[in-house]
């Protein structure tokens, strides 16, 4: 119990610290990396409440896929850090005031006086052979089948919406259309045969060039 509590506080402090750094870092790449640290520490907290599968998924999906993608985007964008900084300082006092008020309220309401262990007993630990991966999979495809299918529709909508909002035909970009390239035939597309009478050539030097022009590609 004692060591578990120590781990909780350790990861909670790491989470809070790195979340604060995400907001305050000047360099967006650093902020993104601190966000990765926040996710990892949160995943550790989830492991502590016996949600092993979700903890691993958080690391795999968010840290492994989403954040790496996000880092690429951040590195490719040209962000004006100075302008963001000016806005930040301007709104800092107001933000601090709101955060202070919210903290005060939350400590009043959520403190141990109302939500302590004497009000809500700790749930019993799961059995050793309990696998929440298996239970999650079973529930997801039986009890929560309807919700699972709705989630699939939501993903489809996300694709349609993203394409609608961002896909544009841009005439200034030069690109190759592979299907058009493949379909090109030698006949009228690539090669044109022109019948013309032979011309008297004044100088013998250019005779080779004129002969090549009359095409032998039949």
């Amino acid at each position: 119990m004692g060591f578990e509590k120590f781990l909780f506080f350790l990861f909670a402090i790491i989470t809070l610290f790195s979340a604060g750094m995400v907001v305050t870092r000047r360099n967006p790449v650093h902020a993104a990396l601190y966000l990765v640290l926040t996710f990892v520490a949160t995943a550790a907290l989830w492991l502590l409440i016996e949600a092993e599968f979700l903890g691993i998924v958080l690391v795999l999906v968010y840290v492994g896929a989403v954040m790496v993608l996000f880092l690429f985007v951040v590195m490719m964008l040209d962000i004006d850090v100075a302008a963001m900084r000016a806005q930040f300082i301007r709104y800092l006092p107001l933000g601090l005031l709101i955060v202070g008020l919210m903290m005060f309220n939350m400590i009043l309401v959520l403190g141990p006086g109302h939500f302590g262990l004497e009000h809500f007993a700790k749930p019993a630990a799961a059995a050793l052979d309990y696998s929440n991966t298996e239970v999650l999979g079973r529930e997801l495809y039986t009890t929560y089948l309807y919700q699972f299918e709705i989630a699939a529709v939501i993903l489809l909508v996300a694709i349609v919406a993203a394409i609608r909002l961002t896909l544009r035909r841009r005439p200034e970009t030069k690109y190759l259309d592979p299907s058009a390239q493949v379909r090109v035939r030698k006949g009228p597309d690539r090669l044109r045969i022109v019948k013309m009478p032979t011309e008297p050539v004044p100088a013998p030097v250019s005779q080779a060039a004129a002969g090549g022009k009359n095409g032998d590609d039949q």
């Binding site: 109302h114 009890t143 919700q147 939501i154 909508v157 349609v160």
Partner: protein
């Protein structure tokens, strides 16, 4: 209870709508610009088929499917039917507007159809998880619809605001739901209701969850003080999208409020009633007063929406069967009026004119007398002038509030409605007594004219014979 094939028959309307949306998505690939009308026809056909299936499956019983995730009851059937009819109206009204602006593409139909699917899912949700997923499906369709005109800066700004504030609202709702789950150990409305009946306010987590869920509901309705997104979104979005946004999703939001507050947290009515009272007074007051100062008609109607949301909350906070039925009646009627009013605005925004300012409505009577009459009818109805149905809806809500002893609240609501009547009547003055800058007659599509006539007659006839709709509303809450 695992999956049974019989469940598929229960969700047949949703399946048909999903199939229609996917069919339009694929069909659009094979159409050129002149053939886009097929998207429109297929979408309307699918909606009509869905409507027919809802009617066929409808009976007085209650069917629960998918392990308590889905419920089909008379309440849901009525709201689904109205949502589908309003969506058909949306398509008919918006065709010429969208075609003229080059927005008449398959994605418009697909997104509106998916949004409708989300609303149907919300209406027949029987667990918090289903409700939340339906809400997200609706919201994720509405964000891109607001920014549908990609080259419009106000559209992009409105969509951004809507997205950020909508995500905040969803976050609040989700946080509340997680608290309720923590307190009750279940997502199902019936199971949550059981625990709430047994424990009531003794359970601190329940109170905490209730407050956040209420904030989420108020956000989605656009009640004061969570109304900031509404005027900006209405102003920035294309007119047909505002038409859609102002009508059908209000019905889905009402279903969400009913399912959460009455079906699962009914035992806490005294507590959420007090919170709703504050929201209702603020909404009616601020909505009606600020609307007077607006010169942009879309913003004016946005503030009008806020004040109507206050009236819907009045009916809910009464906490009686009569009050719930009145709130339902009000919601349905409001959605019809909003569809009609924005429908007229979308229909007259043709030939390069974009109706934005109140002055753009000047002398509409000289240009098209029938449309002006319909818009005037909607304005009379919103102001609450008999015999239009808006009067009757307000009367029912006020009656419910008075009968639970909150006479002062009814007086406040009436005073602000009278203040609000000014800006509705100003529109009528502009329509009939001012001269238009350009008085060439409008040339409008026949089906849109038929739709607006049906819409207007519904508002008028329901006002004269309200008993039929009221009977269904009462029956929905008598169980």
């Amino acid at each position: 209870m695992p999956f049974e094939t019989a469940f598929l028959a229960t969700v047949l309307p949703e399946l048909i709508l999903l199939a229609t949306a996917c069919a339009v998505l694929v069909l659009d690939l094979y159409l050129n610009d002149e053939q886009r009308g097929w998207n429109h026809n297929l979408a309307i056909l699918g909606l009509a088929a869905t409507l027919g299936t809802v009617g066929l499956l409808s009976n007085n019983g209650v069917t629960i499917a998918f392990s308590g995730s889905f419920i089909r009851d008379p309440f849901g059937d009525l709201l689904k039917g109205i949502i589908l009819i309003l969506t058909i109206f949306t398509f008919v009204y918006s065709r010429d507007y969208m075609r003229e602006r080059g927005l008449w593409v398959g994605e418009y139909h697909v997104l509106v159809l998916f949004a409708t699917l989300g609303m149907l899912i919300m209406v027949s949700a029987h667990s918090f998880l289903t409700l939340y997923l339906g809400l997200e499906l609706l919201a994720l369709c509405l964000y891109p619809l607001v920014a549908f005109d990609r080259d419009s800066k106000p559209g992009a700004e409105a969509a951004m605001k809507y997205f950020v504030l909508g995500a905040l609202g969803s976050g609040m709702l989700l946080y509340g739901i997680s608290m309720l789950y923590g307190a009750t150990g279940s997502f199902g409305f019936a199971d949550v209701a059981e625990v709430v009946n047994a424990e009531g306010l003794e359970n601190k987590i329940l109170v905490f969850g209730l407050v956040f869920v209420l904030i989420g509901v108020a956000f989605k309705f656009g009640a004061v003080p969570f109304h900031m997104w509404l005027p900006d979104v209405y102003q920035g979005a294309p007119m047909p999208v505002v038409l859609f946004l102002a009508s059908a999703p209000k019905i889905a939001a009402f279903a969400m409020a009913t399912r959460i507050l009455i079906d699962s947290l009914g035992a806490l009515q005294a507590d959420w009633g007090e919170i709703l009272m504050i929201l209702a007074i603020l909404s009616i007051g601020l909505g009606n007063v600020v609307a007077i100062a607006q010169t942009n008609i879309k913003r004016m109607l946005a503030y009008s929406t806020i004040s109507h949301v206050g009236f819907i909350f009045l009916g809910l906070l009464a906490g009686t069967q009569e009050g719930y039925a009145a709130a339902m009646f009000y919601t349905v009627v409001y959605a019809l009026m909003a569809a009609g009013a924005f429908g007229v605005l979308a229909m007259i925004s043709i030939n390069g004119l974009e109706v934005e300012q109140l002055d753009d409505l000047k002398g509409l009577n000289d240009r098209d007398a029938w449309l002006a009459a319909m818009l005037a009818l909607m304005m009379f109805s919103m102001a609450g002038v008999p015999p239009a149905v808006g009067f009757f809806a307000k009367l029912l809500v006020l009656d419910a509030v008075v009968s639970v002893g909150l006479t002062w609240l009814a007086v406040v609501a009436v005073v602000f409605s009278i203040i609000g009547a000014f800006y509705y009547l100003r529109v009528i003055k502009l329509l009939y007594f001012d001269k238009a800058a350009d008085s060439t007659p409008l040339r409008l599509a026949g089906d849109a004219k038929i739709a607006i006539t049906v819409n207007g007659l519904a508002v008028l006839l329901l006002g004269i014979f309200p008993a039929s709709l009221l009977g269904i509303c009462n029956a929905a809450f008598s169980g």
